[in-house]
């Protein structure tokens, strides 16, 4: 079926009173960004619905994109027909036939905006329902929970028919929830935490700690590629890579082994908080899940959290690993996350890190190193990359290979 537009219904934002205008504006902006690659598509964000006029663009590809935009409750691909009852009947029938499987039930749901149209809502329901009953052998009408609801909207500029409603990503439009920084390691958890943060409307900058030669270029490329996947939900993300080698080496030299991890984490958090402040972000997200590893016990969190007053938000706090993996698979980051590259968290992990570090000792051992000097050096060395959806980092030869294949 050749669709003429996709009708998008808003999620929670419909109920948000006076912020509603901002939300709709932001969603319109995000949808436009997500559909940037389609030249002819027009996006109109109205108070009750958002309309994507396809103008010939591939509806499946457009819907694939819309499925990843937060703030959308659901959407329906629609066909526009002239205000002519025969044309409406023909399209309605074609649409039902395309979806119909033996045993299915249906109903017609008409909305009429154009009150001047010669048929009223009930009359249209009757006419179209009757026509479909006559022409689709075996189909039956059912008012409550039919298998197929054919929606007919009589608007001023034409009649729009749709037979499918596709679930959207839900949540709030990215950007309506302020800005935060995300500590992105490249493992399974941090992309999932990013997903949940963005789903609540938060715009993220990714902070990634990079420790060459202990971590490889591939590990960095993997974190960037993950960011590119996450950018599919927000339209573009800044990736901030922080050189961490010298800090790790110094800590390894100066700090007792049991506290290596705790002090490293404190430094990471100090740096992230400093970056967040520089960039006027209002919080820090990470992928911690309570009790998952030594650094994620309540005691560890207290000993590490001690370095900043900025809110630290942990969307995965109470999730089980298996649940997290399930989401990672759903959002298509799992395969990337499990690529076997060392990241900065695994290399300097002592054989027996303290699972219950003492706050006072943590503070004391941290003083063994020049926190301010090391931080300044690291912050001077950060590199920022603008990452767009579908950017490639792991396979730099993609175009060369495409020639071969």
């Amino acid at each position: 079926m050749k669709y003429s537009e996709i009708m998008v219904r808003y999620g929670e934002l419909s109920t948000k009173g006076k912020n509603k205008k901002d939300f709709i504006k932001q969603l319109g902006h995000n949808v436009r960004k997500a559909l940037q690659q389609f030249d002819d598509v027009e996006v109109k964000a109205q108070h009750d619905r958002l309309h994507v006029t396809l103008n010939g663009a591939d509806s499946a590809a457009v819907m694939d994109r819309l499925g990843g935009v937060f703030g959308i409750e659901n959407f329906s691909p629609s066909v526009k027909v002239e205000k002519d009852i025969d044309a409406i009947k023909a399209t309605a029938l074609a649409m039902v036939k395309e979806i119909f499987k033996p045993g299915m039930t249906f109903k017609i749901n008409t909305r009429r905006q154009d009150k001047a149209f010669e048929y009223d809502t009930n009359h249209l329901n009757d006419l179209l329902g009757g026509y479909i009953l006559e022409n689709v052998p075996g189909i039956q009408v059912k008012m409550k929970k039919p298998d197929l609801t054919l929606r007919v909207e009589v608007r001023m500029n034409g009649v729009f028919l749709s037979g499918q409603t596709i679930q959207g990503a839900g949540g709030l439009p990215v950007g309506t929830g302020g800005k935060a920084v995300m500590m992105l390691s490249g493992g399974i958890d941090s992309p999932v935490a990013s997903y949940y943060a963005m789903r609540r409307g938060v715009k993220l900058d990714m902070v990634h700690f990079f420790s060459p030669p202990y971590t490889s270029e591939q590990a960095l490329a993997k974190a960037k590629e993950l960011t590119a996947r996450m950018a599919g939900y927000s339209g573009g993300i800044q990736f901030i890579q922080v050189p961490f080698t010298k800090i790790q080496e110094t800590i390894k030299e100066q700090v007792p082994e049991g506290y290596l991890m705790t002090i490293q984490r404190r430094l990471m958090l100090r740096l992230t908080a400093a970056i967040a402040e520089m960039r006027h972000a209002k919080g820090i997200f990470n992928g911690e899940s309570l009790g998952q590893v030594a650094s994620q016990t309540l005691e560890s969190m207290m000993a590490i959290n001690d370095v900043t007053t900025m809110p630290i938000l942990r969307p995965l706090l109470s999730m089980d690993k298996t649940e997290i993996i399930k989401v990672a698979e759903d959002i298509d980051t799992y395969d990337l996350s499990i690529l076997p590259y060392e990241d900065c968290c695994t290399i300097f992990t002592p054989p027996a890190p303290k699972t219950r570090p003492d706050l006072e000792k943590s503070r004391k051992y941290e003083k063994y190193i020049d926190v301010e000097g090391l931080m300044k050096e690291a912050l001077d060395g950060i590199t920022i990359t603008d990452i767009r959806p579908n950017d490639k980092f792991l396979n730099q030869n993609e175009d060369v290979f495409a020639e071969l294949l």
């Binding site: 490889s216 591939q218 396979n395 030869n397 993609e398 495409a402 071969l404 294949l405």
Partner: protein, 381 residues
Amino acid sequence: MIYFDNSATTKPAPAVVDTYAKVSANYWGNPSSLHNFGEQAFNLLEQSRQQIADLVGASLSEILFTSGGTEGDNWAIKGTAMKKREFGNHLITTEVEHPAVHNSMEQLKQLGFEVTYLPVDENGRVSAADLRAAIRPSTILVSTMAINNEIGAVQPLAEIADVLRDFPKIHWHIDAVQGIGKGLFKQIFNDRVDFVTFSGHKFHAPRGIGFMYKRQGRMIAPLMAGGGQERDLRSGTENLPAIAAMAKAMRLLLEDEEAKVKQQREIRLAILQHVEKFSNVTIFSKDLPVFAPHILCFAIAGVRGETIVHAFEQHDIYISTTSACSSKKHVESSTLQVMKIDDGLATSAVRISLDEHNTMAEAEKFNQVFDELYTEFAKLS
């Protein structure tokens, strides 16, 4: 040279050989190596996999590389038997399968598995009713081919899918070695199939490479245990030059598939309509939609298939007795035997199998040579 034996093997496409050579020369690193050189090989491997996944409408993790059709068939069958042994010991297949399927089943029989072979009708096809009747609570696998390699019968895949939808736990394997590039992907990659196996050299890729589609979530035991390549399911250092070459061959094959299939169908029909006029000729793959567009099997009564093959060879035309795998063993076609064709006639059967490069001019030349040979054969009998 007129090559009408494409079901035996196909000519490697020059562009495919070129890819094979370039990958062998430039990306010979081991995809499992940690360093950047190995990483490049890994990326090429995965990009090839993605291309194949896209071409069949699967996801990346559903494509697994094998050494070809025989390994794929052995794996789908024995891998299922090993994995699902505790759920049952009954396997179902058809009487007209390739020996890679048939003999795998026979091996399993010796290990205590039970096998039901479904009979076929006069066109070499199984029936959905027979399948349904054969299913037991202990059935763990159904293995059916897409296109029969000897006479070109297309199995009723949509009807089989309908039956198996009622038995979601049974693994369904389709041997699609003859079924690629023939306009059948919609039927083969239906919403029920679990495993589909292919062989590269049947579509202009090199020998020694093939792939299996494995539906996400379906479990299978590996036959090749070792270093854990292919998601721990098929160990062995990946044959990257052949894999990349196969990805390319597949892309080229499926370009304008519809037009290519139409052309093969027309050539097949031109030969069929010509030879069926002769009184001693029996056509096994009739002019019906249940036959593949590229295979024509017929017999000239009283003349051994072997004799016909060699006679055409004198004219630089290459055809085959019914299956290359058994043709040197002087046995009559097993598919024809199962179809209860008289033994004498079955030994007279020959097979023409086309690819997308064959032309109508070749068909005309074939028909002309056929006339000459038929007259000569008539003198003999």
